[in-house]
């Protein structure tokens, strides 16, 4: 996973709440067996509307998505994260995320940033007023900055997830350091527990 320490880029305002993962990437795009190429399916249905925000040229090349509350609800499809990263996003800012989406994002190097509704709205207002506004997502200092707009919004993220993201660490490798603990646990499992074999 690509480490995430701090990222500076332009941002896209997505003023919609309850953006479920079926909208982020519709099911018809989930048949691919690779992890790449999902960007073409990102918001596929919405992108057919020329006025959709991602179709507005002033936001070309933006790398930060600023969305309404309950972003990434619904299906567990990690393809939603892969679609966002494949399209070029490094961070999503919203007042609240679907639990599974947030977890998937942190496994795949996309930073989910929870900010209060007012801060999200201020960011959306700022990048709508001036799409060239530079937004900095600083995971090291846990703060989102848009200096030109006078925005400095601290965010919370647990130490462990922050460390993993900053180091770009693979969870499986971390867990396998404790393989002996897993084996010991397995020895104590009751014999009547079900097996599929």
């Amino acid at each position: 996973m690509e480490p995430f320490v701090t990222h500076a880029g332009r941002a896209v305002p997505l003023r919609r709440s309850n953006v479920d993962t079926d909208q982020i990437i519709p099911a018809e795009y989930l048949k691919q067996v690779s992890r790449t190429g999902f960007g073409k399916g990102l918001f596929a249905a919405w992108r057919e509307d020329p006025s959709f925000v991602l179709n507005q040229s002033q936001y070309d090349g933006a790398t930060i998505l600023v969305a309404g509350t309950d972003f990434g609800t619904g299906s567990s499809r990690e393809h939603a994260v892969w679609a966002l990263t494949d399209y070029g996003f490094r961070a999503v800012i919203a007042p609240r995320f679907g639990d599974i989406f947030r977890s998937n994002a942190t496994k795949a190097g996309l930073l989910p940033v929870v900010l209060p509704e007012a801060a999200v709205t201020a960011l959306q207002d700022a990048v709508e007023a001036d799409p060239a506004t530079e937004v900095v997502v600083d995971l090291d200092h846990r703060v989102v900055l848009a200096e030109a707009a006078g925005i400095k919004a601290p965010f919370e993220i647990d130490d462990y997830t922050r460390w993993r993201l900053m180091e770009g660490l693979d969870d499986i490798g971390l867990t396998l350091r404790h393989a002996d603990d897993i084996t010991a646990f397995e020895h104590n499992r009751p014999a009547w527990l079900p097996v599929t074999a």
Binding site: R15, R16, S17, N18, D20, D22, Q23, P26, A27, E28, L30, K31, Q32, V33, S34, R35, A45, G68, T69, D70, T73, G74, S76, R77, E78, H79, V81, R96, F97, G98, D99, I100, S103, N104, K107, A108, E117, D158, D159, Y160, D171, I172, L174, T175, L176, H178, A179, D181, I182, F185, E186, R189, P190, A191, W192, L193, P194, V195, T196, A197
Partner: protein, 492 residues
């Protein structure tokens, strides 16, 4: 293991002198490793797999030269993208003449699952197999889903299995790979929420109506960060099928997991199933399962209380499952929502759904009715729909698909003559799969089509691009098929 011992251990660690909830007991019994400032490492008892969210995980194993640690705790099925027609039986070909799979991309995905399961030694129930079906239908049916287990699957409706008192939750593909490689997951301990449902459901009101009402009450984000425990007399009175329906849609309230404490309904459901313990093991299991229910002095982080007696059949009018109202209600005016985000969402939903405020929900006409899915694809659901359709006809303007949740459900329904009721009424009788729940197999809505669907999500385009979905119970689905507009059996 017994409760007294566990409580003593808890006290010795100085964490709490209080009793524990069902979710906390299961969690504590599965912690492989706990360290300050880190998520707990949780052991996973059962890993369910399907074709859509697993191929990249198996590729990851191969790339790192890793094996599946516990193939004997893993099981796979083909459900999401397979067709539900032309399934002639076991060994139905995946390609060539006589294959029901016409989409080459779907074929590659199913082929990948078959290859991966063979290579890594994972049991697979392929298309046409007697035990094939929707992953969340076959787990309980085989008796693999048991109280007190931790169960994961790369599918958000894994919450279904909580109906038997298992801690079950959906995961992404990176986590699927992690479980395949280690049989564990690093997880932060969730908060707990009690959803207490007092009273009794009135005649004609179902588990589906109850969960739609719960989601409308707490909202699509209300359960985020929580494990829900459904409690109270109305939950106790539900059949296992009803509990599965309720727990299934926990994720629609934002919660990764929902639970019902195991009781005699649970034990009666499990006894004699292929993977349920038997003999002395059954007694040992029962002894353990009876320690699991939440202790009387345990506390939840949050509690919601509902009165079942006030409920009526519920239907959705919008594009998220929280946008639901009683069938007798009217399409709401977005201006009536105080919260600006809810107002904007309602405006958008009404535009997408092509509905106007003030319209009676009963006046909404549909062209498609879907009975099936991991929410309502069990034998009890098909019986409920058939009892409404018996001696009646599906309206000429409506196509109705009845899709059993598993091939075993299909066989049971045929043994009971339900298929004859459906076909005599003019409905299509299908083979098992996710079908029209999610628009990634041939069963889809076309743009502008409108369905009454027993599935779980009414998101924009969920059942096919441009399609419009109203979530309903099997009873309402069947009555709607007869009248051509949203209706309850009592309207017939």
């Amino acid at each position: 293991m017994n409760t007294a011992v566990s409580e003593c251990e808890t006290q010795a660690e100085g964490e709490s002198v209080m009793g524990r909830t069902l979710a906390e007991k299961i969690w504590d019994a599965h912690v492989v490793r706990s360290a300050e400032g880190e998520p707990d490492l949780l052991y996973i008892d059962l890993h369910l797999l399907h074709e859509v969210t697993s191929p990249q995980a198996f590729d990851g194993l191969r790339a790192a030269s890793r094996k599946v640690r516990r193939p004997d705790l893993s099981i796979a099925t083909e459900d999401h993208n397979v067709p539900t027609t032309g399934i002639t039986g076991p060994g139905v070909p995946l390609s060539g003449p006589g294959s029901p799979v016409t989409d080459p991309v779907s074929r590659i995905q199913v082929e990948a699952l078959r290859k991966n399961c063979a290579e890594f030694g994972v049991r697979l129930h392929p298309m046409g197999d007697a035990d094939q079906g929707i992953v969340h239908v076959i787990g309980p049916q085989l008796g693999l889903t048991q109280p007190g287990l931790t169960i994961v699957c790369g599918d958000s409706h894994t919450s279904t299995h909580g109906a038997l008192g298992a801690l079950a939750f959906g995961i992404g593909t990176s986590e699927v790979e992690h479980v395949l490689a280690t049989q564990t997951l690093p997880q932060a301990r969730p908060k707990t929420m009690a959803i207490t449902v007092n009273g009794a459901l009135p005649e004609g009101v179902t588990a589906k109506d109850l969960i739609l009402a719960i989601i409308a009450t707490i909202g699509t984000g209300g359960g985020q960060g929580y494990v829900l425990e459904y409690r109270g007399p109305a939950i106790r009175a539900l059949t296992m099928a009803g509990r599965l329906t309720v727990c299934n849609m926990s994720i629609e309230a934002g919660a990764r997991a929902g639970l019902v404490a195991p009781d005699d309904v649970t034990f009666g459901y499990l006894q004699g199933r292929p993977h349920a313990p038997s003999g002395a093991a059954w007694e040992a299991a029962l002894d353990y399962w009876r320690t699991l229910p939440t202790d009387p002095d345990a506390t939840f982080d949050h509690e919601v209380v509902l009165d079942a007696a006030t409920l009526t059949p519920y239907v959705t009018w919008g594009t998220n499952p929280g946008q639901a109202l009683p069938l007798a209600a009217f399409v709401p005016d977005p201006g009536s929502f105080a919260d600006p985000a809810a107002r904007a969402a309602a405006e958008r939903a009404l535009t997408y759904m092509d509905l106007v405020p003030g319209m009676a929900l009963r006046d909404i006409t549909v062209d498609t009715v879907f009975v099936g899915s991991c929410t309502n694809g069990r034998i009890e659901d098909l019986r409920a729909a058939a009892s409404v359709l018996q001696g009646r006809r599906v309206a000429p303007s409506v196509r109705m698909l009845v899709v059993p949740g598993s091939m075993a459900v299909r066989a049971q329904a045929e043994a009971e003559g339900l298929d004859a009721v459906f076909t005599a009424a003019g409905a299509q009788w299908r083979s098992a799969g996710c079908s029209m729940c999610l628009g990634m197999n041939p069963d889809k809505l076309s743009a502008g089509e409108r369905s009454a669907s027993t599935s779980n999500r009414n998101f924009e385009g969920r059942q096919g691009k441009g399609g419009r979905t109203h979530l309903v119970s099997p009873e309402v689905a069947a009555a709607t098929a007869v009248t051509g507009h949203l209706a309850a059996p009592a309207d017939l």
